[in-house]
Symmetry: C2
Amino acid sequence: MSQLSDRKPFLVYENPTIEEALEVVRAAVSGRKTLIVVGNCCVDYHGRASSTLEPGERILIIKEDCSVLVHRPKGYEPVNWQPSGCLFHTHKRKGTLIIRAIRPKSREAVVISFDRVYAISVLSLIDRGEFSLHASEEDMQRAVLFQPSLIEEGLKPITYEKMVDPGFIDVYGIDRDGKMVVIEIKRKTAGKEAALQLAKYIGSLKLEANREVRGILVAPQIAKGVQKLLVSLGLDFKFLDPKKCTEILREMETKKLMDFFQETPGSPT
Amino acid sequence: MSQLSDRKPFLVYENPTIEEALEVVRAAVSGRKTLIVVGNCCVDYHGRASSTLEPGERILIIKEDCSVLVHRPKGYEPVNWQPSGCLFHTHKRKGTLIIRAIRPKSREAVVISFDRVYAISVLSLIDRGEFSLHASEEDMQRAVLFQPSLIEEGLKPITYEKMVDPGFIDVYGIDRDGKMVVIEIKRKTAGKEAALQLAKYIGSLKLEANREVRGILVAPQIAKGVQKLLVSLGLDFKFLDPKKCTEILREMETKKLMDFFQETPGSPT
C-alpha cells in the first residue's frame, strides 16, 4: 500500500535544457518508465529499409517495455516506430539530444534528434485491465469462406453476398451430399427474426432453383424458443464463436503471405 | 512572426478535477489542438466488431486532425484507435469524464471513460517536414517477382534465393527468348563488388546447366566505372527505383485481398 501511495504516476519537466532532457530521458529509460517527449526533432531509420524525416514538432513515446513511437500532429499511424525490447543510446551532440533506439536482433535503428524539447512527461502507469475483442459478422463470414469445416465437413462455399429476392445471403454453397446450403451468420444471439429471415431466403431460392435447399443459422448463441422454431422450419443451427473466427483470420493473413511466394513455380533444375 | 512567438506549443494541466478536465478537453478539441490525456480509464468500441477494455492507467492521444489513439504502458500498437475526422461528444456522468469519438461514415464509436485524470497536455505543433521511405532489397525482390516487366518485357521468374556455389541468387528466370537470366538487386549504388558477385553466380550456373546465362544488375544507380566493367563481363544493367518498388508492393497488398474473394468459384446459377 505504501508503495502505491508513494508512486507518482505523472511527472512533467517543462522547457528543459538539452543537458537536463538527456538526464531525465536516461533516468526514465533505465528506470523502465513510460516517457513522452514533445519537441522539435528529425528522425532517421536504418535497417532493411531506410527512411528520413525532416525537422518538425512531434511526440516521442518510449514505453516501459522499450517500444518506441514517433507521432506527428496528424494521422493515427506513427511515422516511425520500434517494437518492444529496444536498447537505447542517448547522448548530446552539438546542442542536440540524440536518442538511438536499436532493435538488437535485426540491427535496425531509429534515431531521434531533438534540437528543442518543450516537455518531458515521465509516467508510472499501472494497467492490468483485460482487453476483449469480438469479431464482426463480416469477419465471421470471411472465416467461414476460408475454413468451411467450421460449419460442417465437406461444405463447399460457392459464393457470398448472393442476392435473392428478400436480400443478401451471407454464404451459399453445396454440402457433402451435393445439397444446396444457405448460411445466415449472426455475431450475437440469434433470435426469431434471424430464423425467419433464413426461411425467407430458402423459400426464394427453392422457387428459383426448383430443388431442395438446406438452411443453417450460425451464431455464438441462440435465443430462448428459437431452437424450436428452427426445427419447425426445418433449419439447422451451428454454434460459432466470433473469437474463433478472429483467430482463423489471423492464420489466414499469415498463410496468404506464405502462399504468395509459393505461387511462383518450382525451379526446373 | 508575432503569431509564432505568441504560440504556446505545450501546456499542461496536472491533476485536474473531472469538471476541469472536461472543460480543457472540450476547448482543445474545438480549437483543433493535439491533446494527451493520462489517467485511469476503461474503453469500449462498437462498430462492425466490438471490444471492451477493463479499467487501467493509459495514454489517450487526440490529434489535431481528430484521429484518436489509446495506448497502454506496453506494446507499440494502440489498444484502440480511430482514424482522422472523428466527431467528439464529451460529458461528465457520475464523476466520470466520458469522451466519445465517433466515425460518422461507418457509425463506429470508441468511448473512453476516465474516473481519474493525472494530466492533460495541450499541444500546438508545427510539423511540415517531409518523410521519405526507401524500400529494402527484399522489397525490391518481391516487387520484381510480382511485376517482372519492371526488368524487361517477357521475363518469367522461376525462383528466388536460389543457392549456387558462391551464394544466393536474388531472382532467377527465363527471358522472352528462353535464355536463363540471373538478377542481382542492390538498393543503393551498385559498385564493382556487385558486378563481380553477379559474374561469379553466372560462372557457377553455366557450369551447372551447361547453357548460356544472362546477368542483369538491378539498382537505383551505378558507381563510376562499373558500367565499363559490366560491358567487359557481358552483363546488363537495369535502373530500378526503390520508391517504385514500394508503390508496387502497396498495389500488390490490395490485389491479394481482392483475389482472396475472387478465388471462390462463381455461382452456378
